[in-house]
Symmetry: C2
Subunit: 186 residues, 2 copies
């Protein structure tokens, strides 16, 4: 019981610190301090920083995928689900918790961590492709359109952070949704 809680606290503290300052700049010692658990728990659950990072990034990815699935796999018509996913409120200036990791050198240089990111985007693209296919598109067109939809979100975050304009992500989404579902926009 108490060990489960300590593990969860360590993972939660690592998720927060990774999001705030990157994986490379976060030491296990800082995670330990932020988590409030005893030092023995850290080394018991996560003998190395790599182990801690795999657990924390895995948890971030699982949360993000679960949220995406709730929207993309509801009972609404396919196009409504896609638009709802695209238009979901997002903290544009904070950046995507998963997407930002692709620019974290400590993640990209570690195959185990990189694989977690790859699996996230492959899965998200797969589910999004399925929903576009439901709208009646052929497989290859559905796949390309899914790449465009996910790229709009990731690129919108990049634009918002680059221009310090929190509306930049929403503008990119509006621009894409206007092409995707013009009838819903008029």
């Amino acid at each position: 019981m108490s060990t489960t809680t300590a593990r969860d606290r360590l993972v939660g503290a690592a998720q927060d610190l990774f999001a705030a300052q990157g994986v490379g700049a976060t030491s296990p010692r800082a995670v330990l301090a932020a988590s409030g658990v005893g030092q023995g728990s850290l080394y018991h659950h996560f003998p190395t920083k790599h182990d801690l990072a795999v657990a924390a990034i895995g948890a971030t990815v699982d949360d993000a995928l679960a949220r995406a699935m709730r929207t993309l796999r509801s009972d609404s018509p396919a196009i409504t689900r896609l638009v709802a996913y695209l238009e979901r409120p997002r903290d544009a200036l904070a950046g995507c918790k998963v997407g930002r990791l692709t620019s974290d050198q400590a993640v990209m240089d570690d195959d185990g961590l990189h694989d977690v990111l790859t699996a996230y985007f492959v899965r998200l693209l797969g589910v999004t492709t399925d929903v576009f296919r439901e709208t009646g598109l052929p497989d290859d067109v559905a796949r390309d359109r899914a790449h465009a939809a996910i790229a709009i979100i990731q690129g919108g975050y990049v634009l918002a952070r680059a221009t310090q304009d929190p509306d930049a992500l929403a503008a990119a989404v509006r621009g894409f949704v206007g092409l995707l579902a013009p009838k819903e926009n008029t």
Copy 2:
């Protein structure tokens, strides 16, 4: 004559090292070694690392804008120019030389450097908005669609790097262009 050459070499070496390893991880000493110029030239032209970074990032931004303008401001019809810009060959796995800087903490923490990035994207979005306006769209729709177009490229780079799939950027562009200019695709 020779001082111009030394300055250009220092800027070129800084551009290459920033692209390869990030601004934070690049020391003026490493730039000096890569440039092959004398130590006196470095401190003569760039008393601080900030001065060197402003010059190098400024040069990267100027190159990128000049390239974009050549495509976006040619004599072709507006939609043809937009598609040509979107479909331009890009080294997807290397990432966008400008966009990647938005994830470089050393850049984002330095207002002078961040301003150079902001100016780049504001200018690129402005010119792209103008071209969408030429296609007959109202101002606000043209602005949103320009955000979508630039987000597709930046997000496509993120997807390609995340999934290690060099086709991911091209797939996102195909998905967007298929919506934007369906007649050119059939």
